[in-house]
């Protein structure tokens, strides 16, 4: 390389790196989405970088929720952690006890951002709040379960409105089948939907100690309540070919199998509505998740992710992180994200703003309405350790029952017993750390 070329190169390098070094605060945000969702997040980040020229956030996708959590753990152990990371709901217990976080409420207080947790929708606040009501992370992607129906197919089978009870749902499945539908309804048989959400809307306990919200002593207690009743129905619907596993559909995916008109009904997250409308094939009708006839309907809970701030970055980064979190919490950013992805708005003002805008989808409207029901100690989701492993166990046992290798009742008992061994160990692992750290 000639001397001149080298000088040009050097000058270019300096021009590129110098502003970066001069910036007050650079920090990384790791998120756990791809596709449509990642695009929306990237646009949020670009908006922040434009509006706050003294700060700079690097938004980096890290794969699935599981991969992001795993990478955050490895990065923290190696001292290479990002300042902000998006962690899925079932990682909440791990994060609370991790001793690796800068609690978001403390961060906002320390950096002079006045925040009021009462701004959050009650269902969302309670899902993440600690025993003493603190929010140590900032809720981000939240969705809840609703019932989707293909208006044309339901009408053809003589079903006027979406079933509100599981009994009516079962009858609707029969009617659709009798009318010649090959796929009356589709499900992916995942525990978030079949255990967490179905139990929450019935206010039925999944575990003791308020589903684990009260501390590490919680143990599973779902095997002989509403969940058993529901899973017996599910097993029957499965055996009769009324509730098809997603893998048996041509789309091989629950949301797509409904969106492409193959299946007449689907129990799916509010976020799936974005896929349904984008496909534009079916006239979708959305209703709340059914409950059993004669039982009380409680407000449904959410699933999704929240943003955690990790310790150990230079002090100068945290004011910028706080500005970023405050920016994401602005109603207009929430409305933008919600309209693009189908995730729910998080705060009351964002909810109202969205309700006035044409961007509010039926799914979000129904989802928010279903969350507004009365509360009880068990409708705020679960806060339990080793949840990722427990979900594998639940699926394993339920698959066995569906294949006829054990009864559904036994499957749930086994899942509960095996889950409790995990909880015992989680409690023993964190026995020395304070109950409600930090």
């Amino acid at each position: 390389m000639s001397l001149r070329a080298a000088t040009v190169c050097l000058a270019w390098l300096l021009s590129v790196t110098a502003p970066a070094m001069a910036r007050a605060a650079d920090f990384e945000f790791w998120y756990a989405h791809g596709g449509l969702y990642a695009q929306a997040i990237d646009e949020l980040c670009a908006g922040f970088n434009q509006g706050y020229p003294q700060d700079h956030v690097h938004c980096l996708p890290q794969g699935t929720y599981e991969q992001t959590m795993r990478k955050a753990v490895a990065a923290y152990r190696a001292g290479q952690q990002p300042a902000v990371v998006e962690i899925y709901d079932i990682g909440t217990a791990d994060m609370l006890h991790s001793d690796a976080i800068y609690p978001v409420d403390a961060l906002m207080h320390d950096t002079g951002h006045a925040t009021d947790d009462a701004d959050y929708l009650e269902g969302i606040r309670r899902f993440y709040a600690t025993v003493d009501g603190r929010l140590l992370s900032q809720p981000f992607g939240a969705s809840t379960l609703v019932l989707y129906g293909n208006r044309k197919k339901l009408a053809a089978a003589g079903i006027r409105e979406l079933p509100q009870t599981w009994e009516a749902f079962g009858q609707a499945l029969q009617a659709l089948k009798a009318h010649g539908e090959s796929c009356p309804a589709v499900a992916d048989y995942t525990p978030w939907k079949m255990l967490d959400q179905v139990s929450a809307v019935q206010g039925a306990p999944i575990a003791s100690a308020h589903n684990g919200h009260d501390g590490l002593a919680a143990r599973y207690a779902f095997a002989d309540g509403i969940h058993r009743r529901y899973m017996r129905d599910v097993a029957r619907w499965h055996a009769q070919g009324l509730l098809l596993p997603a893998i048996l559909t041509h789309a091989n995916d629950q949301s797509l199998a409904f969106a492409d008109g193959e299946c007449a009904m689907a129990i799916d997250a509010t976020g799936a509505y974005a896929i349904v409308t984008k496909a534009g094939i079916v006239d979708a009708q959305v209703g709340p998740l059914p409950v059993y006839a004669g039982t009380t309907r409680y407000g449904n809970t959410i699933g999704g992710s929240s943003l955690w701030v990790l310790k150990g970055k230079p002090a100068a980064a945290y004011p910028a992180v706080a500005r970023f979190l405050a920016y994401l919490r602005q109603p207009q950013q929430q409305v933008f994200f919600s309209a693009r992805t189908g995730y729910l708005p998080l705060t009351h003002d964002a909810e109202q703003q969205l309700a006035r805008s044409p961007a509010e989808s039926d799914a979000i409207r129904v989802g928010l309405a279903s969350m507004a029901g009365p509360g009880n100690p068990y409708n705020a989701g679960v806060r339990l350790g080793f949840m990722a492993l427990f979900r594998v166990i639940w699926q394993e046992e339920v698959q066995r029952a569906l294949a006829g290798r054990e009864s559904m009742d036994d499957a749930l008992q086994h899942a509960q017993a095996r889950g409790n061994l995990l909880l015992e160990r989680f409690q023993a692992t964190y026995a020395d750390s304070r109950e409600d750290a930090p």
Partner: protein, 295 residues
């Protein structure tokens, strides 16, 4: 004549071996020691707390019924996988050797699949084996409800065994072709003159003469099936349905990396390492005996 080259002095050989030793230390000994340490503690994922529990993790894992289910699954998977891959590779090698002219072409063609990574193959076969849209789904149009790998554990196991054999056959094939070619042609020719057909020659002359190589590929396959097959399981079945393909390597991965159960998964890793060490020890012992017999 000097039969072995020797480096003089103490430092030259050490210096030459150093890069490899460093790599082994960094990627084998250090993680193994760390795993051993973790397996004796209850550790938090983020590393701020750990409690010594002695053999507690081992006792717990050894009392867990899912470990034995997983061991049984691993044994099934290994035996079927090794049997299928060695058997098919042997058959192919024999057939290629039968016809020299076309054999050369097929030798190259059959080596190609070796370049396909396990996870890529898993994704391809997962689609092919889908009960609704895959090739195998066609069976369901003939006999509705016949092909259900998402419910039927035996079918799911057949699927991963097939995928595993697919990844191993090329390597086995190369070794076995070389082995067959190393047999002096006199033996085979003499047998042919005596009137032995290709099959008789194969069974009575060729197979006995390549027994060491057969044993070698079987051992390599076995160790691979125990330690290195999680990519296939991860992409195809994730251990399901109902734990039917939950081989030990996958269980360790899932407990440690998805479940963040570092202690339990470390204890299992150490157990798995002991298992592989035992398998290797048997291999060495047999080789040793064979070498002595031949000497």
């Amino acid at each position: 004549m000097k039969t072995s080259a020797r480096f003089h002095g103490r430092w030259t050989p050490l210096a030459l071996g150093l890069p490899q030793l460093l790599l082994i230390a960094l990627f084998f000994y250090w993680p193994t020691l760390k795993g051993l340490w973790w397996s004796l503690h209850l550790v938090c994922p983020f590393g701020h707390c750990s409690r010594f529990v002695g053999m507690g993790n081992y006792v717990r894992e050894l009392k867990d019924a899912s470990l034995y289910a997983s061991l049984l699954t691993t044994a099934m998977f290994s035996l079927c996988g090794v049997g299928l891959s060695v058997g098919v590779a042997l058959l192919l090698a024999w057939m290629v050797e039968l016809h020299h002219r076309s054999g050369k072409l097929f030798r190259y063609l059959l080596i190609w699949p070796y370049a396909v990574a396990g996870s890529v193959l898993g994704v391809i076969l997962r689609v092919a084996a889908s009960p609704s849209i895959g090739l195998m789904g066609y069976l369901n149009t003939l006999w509705p409800g016949f092909w259900q790998p998402h419910l039927n554990g035996t079918q799911a196991m057949a699927m991963v065994v097939f995928a595993f054999a697919w990844t191993q056959i090329p390597f086995d094939f190369i070794v076995l072709v070389a082995a067959l070619r190393s047999i002096p042609t006199d033996y085979v020719a003499a047998a042919a003159i005596d009137g032995a057909g290709p099959l008789r020659r194969f069974i009575d002359i060729q197979i006995p003469m390549i027994r060491p190589q057969l044993f070698f590929v079987a051992t390599i396959n076995l160790i691979d099936s125990i330690t290195n097959s999680f990519a296939i399981v991860d992409t195809m079945t994730q251990g399901g349905p109902g734990g039917a393909t939950d081989i030990l390597a996958y269980k360790i991965y899932r407990d440690g990396f998805i479940g963040l159960d570092l202690s339990g998964s470390s204890a299992l890793s150490i157990l798995l390492m002991l298992l592989v060490l035992a398998a290797s020890a048997v291999q060495f012992a047999v080789f040793e005996r064979q070498a002595k017999r031949e000497a």
